[in-house]
């Protein structure tokens, strides 16, 4: 029963809501460990889905599930220490909703049925809304309202896209279950016009959730207002889940022989996201907002890589893994910074290198990683995407891609330098603790290790995930 990955967090979440906070924190970590174990078992092929008409263990789903489960474990360890330092009025709700959120994300990773995938992605919105709204400040309320409304409306359009795809089946006289795997096999018989219309609506809907520009407007608000462990989950795990919806729709288009159409849309949206992120990072005032725009950029890179195809698709999948690891580590470090300085504004921070040496190492290394410096994995993945784009002869696209990367690095490095070495004379509020630094280190270390040594099962899974859309590592 692969569905245990959804059911266990669901049940423990309900239990945690009614238990005292002390037990709740324990349940959070125990569930994270259990979830990772089941995920690893699923990777070894020991367990299979119990409801094959709705769920399946697809390679790309398993990849997203493993990434989510892995970073969830470290985030939950961090969250236990973080919650003991901050005043949270309704901590049981926070713990419960975090677990429900994990449950809905696992459901996204496993869903095979078009509408079940939709239900699961909408559920991730609903289950993560209480996390953003936790501090109940005016700005948190505003962020939650924008998040729920923009994402719900966007995802409602994705449901319309699902209906269009069902219509394309009816017109093509195809009688198969409405699952991605079944539709993929008969994709060429589907009506191409309605399939295209369906794809556009699916990309608008799931792209809203993934943070692709111009539908990204909720993302900086939500990521900056959520408490840091929740931001790390949103950026590291949720965006991948939404990407899965886009990726599966693109694969369906590819199988139907309309790959060029969907590739060009993905490349366009990807480049637009990167450019918009570059513009907004440049004069950013808040460090969490800066990280949020960096997530917009990285989702753009992934969409671009998948759109290019071939070697770049492999790069995009690697980028997905490394972005999750590094970005969630950065958000966890930003939680320490927020606790220490008591402000989200870059102008009210400074001299981190001396005041918070441990957090500084994690934050600065994470920044180097996200900017694409070796030995972190993003160096490899971005290089592969650029090489793939050159192989396909997309010279103009790849020049815009490189330009955006340079602009973002230039803009962000100025801000990070100010935070790390700028002048700061006031007292710091809460000192850093090992329990809140080690998870960041562990995530960064994983990215370095995966860059040097990629386990064979991971390599094979990525290959089989991208094989259906013509992705390969041999150019």
């Amino acid at each position: 029963m692969l569905e245990f990955t959804c059911l266990i967090p669901l049940f423990t979440g309900i239990i945690a809501m009614f238990l005292p906070v002390k037990f709740g924190r324990g349940i959070l970590v125990v569930t994270a460990i259990l979830h990772l174990q089941i995920t690893v078992l699923a990777w070894m092929g020991k367990i299979t889905p119990g409801l094959p008409q709705y769920f399946s263990a697809s390679p790309e789903g398993l990849l997203v599930l493993l990434v989510a489960s892995f970073i969830f474990l470290f985030i939950s360890i961090y969250a236990v220490s973080y919650m003991s330092e901050t005043e949270i009025t309704s901590e049981p709700i926070y713990i419960g909703c975090t677990l429900f959120f994990l449950s809905s994300m696992s459901m996204v990773a496993l869903a095979d049925h078009l509408v079940v995938l939709w239900i699961a992605i909408e559920a991730t919105t609903l289950m993560s809304a209480p996390l953003i709204f936790l501090h109940r400040s005016k700005s948190a309320l505003e962020a939650t309202w924008k998040y729920v409304l923009i994402c719900s409306v966007g995802i409602a359009l994705a449901l319309l896209g699902c209906f269009f795809i069902v219509l394309s089946m009816d017109i093509g006289n195809v009688e198969v279950p409405i699952t991605f795997s079944a539709l993929g096999a008969v994709a060429t018989q589907l009506d191409p016009i309605w399939l295209k219309a369906g794809f556009i609506f699916l990309v608008i809907g799931y792209g809203t959730k993934m943070g692709l520009a111009p539908m990204h407007t909720w993302l900086p608000d939500a990521h900056s207002e959520a408490p840091s462990p929740a931001s790390a989950l949103l950026s590291g795990a949720l965006l991948n889940c939404a990407f899965l919806g886009v990726y599966r729709s693109h694969r369906l288009m590819y199988q139907a022989g309309l790959g060029d159409f969907s590739s060009n849309i993905l490349i366009g949206l990807g480049l637009l996201s990167m450019l918009i992120a570059a513009i907004f990072i440049f004069n950013q005032t808040g460090y969490k907002r800066m990280l949020a725009y960096s997530s917009v950029e990285n989702m753009g890179i992934i969409a671009f890589g998948v759109g290019i195809g071939g070697l770049a698709t492999y790069g995009a999948m690697l980028h997905l893994i490394h972005h999750s690891l590094i970005k969630s580590s950065l958000f966890l470090s930003s939680g320490n910074i927020l606790l220490g300085y008591g402000s989200k504004l870059i102008s009210k921070t400074g001299n981190m290198a001396r005041l918070f040496p441990k957090t500084f190492i994690a934050f600065f290394a994470g920044f180097a990683g996200i900017s694409g410096f070796p030995p972190f994995g993003i160096f490899v993945s971005e290089l592969l995407i650029i090489m793939g784009a050159f192989q396909q002869g997309r010279i103009i696209s790849v020049s815009i891609f490189i330009l955006a990367l340079i602009l973002i690095f230039a803009g962000a490095s100025r801000l990070v330098m100010k935070m790390s070495f700028g002048a700061w004379n006031n007292e710091i509020l809460i000192d850093e603790k090992m329990a809140r630094v080690l998870p960041s280190y562990a995530l960064l270390l994983t990215s370095i290790i995966l860059c040097v040594w990629l386990p064979d099962s991971l390599y094979q899974t990525i290959l089989s995930a991208i094989a259906t859309i013509g992705g390969t590592v041999h150019g």
Partner: protein, 217 residues
Amino acid sequence: MSAISDALLALTLLSVLLSLASHRLLALVKIMAFQGIVVSLIPLFLEQHMTMGSILMLQVLILMKGFLIPGFIYVAVKKIKIRREIEPIIGYHASLFAGLFFILISAFIADRIYTAHSLPKEHVLLMITAITTLASGLFLLMSRHKAITQVIGYLMMENGIYLFGTALAKQTHTQYLVEFGVLLDLLVGIMIMGIVLNNINSSFDSVDTKLLGQLKD
């Protein structure tokens, strides 16, 4: 296509126009409850044969779309003590005119779709209603300041998409578990929006979304 379902579709269109012209929030919620019930009844008169599953689903639909969801919004409106939408971004007469315009456009689109694919013409009115409801929902969402009207706009949009599903997809109506999941998401979504709405009201003393503009770059 029976006369009853035609009448129901006409009632849906009427409720759309009414909601665009309405400025009292309680009346708006009642119109939405009415629209929810009518929209849930439509599939009953389209299908040739009724099964146990479809009748059960119909009851669940009416319960959720006609009573639970509007009831929840009704409670929220009562709690926040706001009765009227004053100063909409687009005025009521202009909104009504826009609604009529949507009907015209959707009639054109639906006709084009059905001619292009030589589909049976029997569902063309359903398609017109679906597109109009969807477009008017989006319009309501964008043209009003009060957060509660935006929720109602979202609900109307969902109704439109549901009608689309009824019009287009034969298969979706055999999978009740999936349909139930969609409904549950909608219900929980409206509940969460209601809770956030209440909190917005207590910290801003208003549900005007003009006040929600602090976070920007």
